[in-house]
């Protein structure tokens, strides 16, 4: 999440809203956001309905796996990044900036 915060200006400049999602409570997420200086919303999927709907629930952790979805303005998935690859947002930033140029 910190890596997204560092790239937030670039992403916002490319018309992109960043949303974190976990199965923590909204209040735990707010405390987490404050502790690491994240200013974008960290959404609470309490119970995990959305996590399951996106097919990213891991039984082993009783939690979502680390994954980024880049969703275009048309609501379709443009990019997927899994696990360790999901921690580095460079590719997402590039994709957003590319899309902006191509428009």
């Amino acid at each position: 999440m910190k890596a997204f915060q560092q790239n937030l200006q670039k992403l916002e400049a490319a018309d992109t809203q960043v949303l974190g999602v976990s199965m923590d409570s909204a209040f735990a997420n707010k405390a987490f956001a404050d502790s690491i200086g994240v200013t974008f919303p960290l959404l609470s999927d309490w119970g995990g309905d959305i996590t399951r709907q996106y097919g990213v629930y891991l039984d082993k952790y009783k939690a979502p796996r680390r994954i980024n979805f880049l969703i275009g303005k048309d609501g379709k998935i443009l990019e997927l990044q899994l696990d360790n690859a999901a921690i580095d947002p460079t590719k997402i930033v590039d994709a957003c900036e590319r899309k902006k140029l191509n428009r």
């Binding site: 490319a14 960043v18 949303l19 999602v21 998935i77 443009l78 990019e79 921690i87």
Partner: protein
Amino acid sequence: MKRKFVLTVLGVGLLVAAMLSPRLSQQLRAESNPPASMKLKVGDPAPDFKLQYFDGNDLKDVSLSQYQGKKNVVLAFYIFAFTDG
């Protein structure tokens, strides 16, 4: 005696060939790496959602559809609060 030797060599050869065959090695790889069987793939419509976050004063609703036609959205799932990544 010689014939038995030839048969043994042939047998071992076949066994090695079977072990190295691409299909089998693929199977072995699949077992050592849990498949990244993703329900959604690039190009699929992202399921709409409505979730909440706490902005310090109130719980705020956020839905995917509110950004449609306006912004791209990065949905970054993470395992737990207070972990890295």
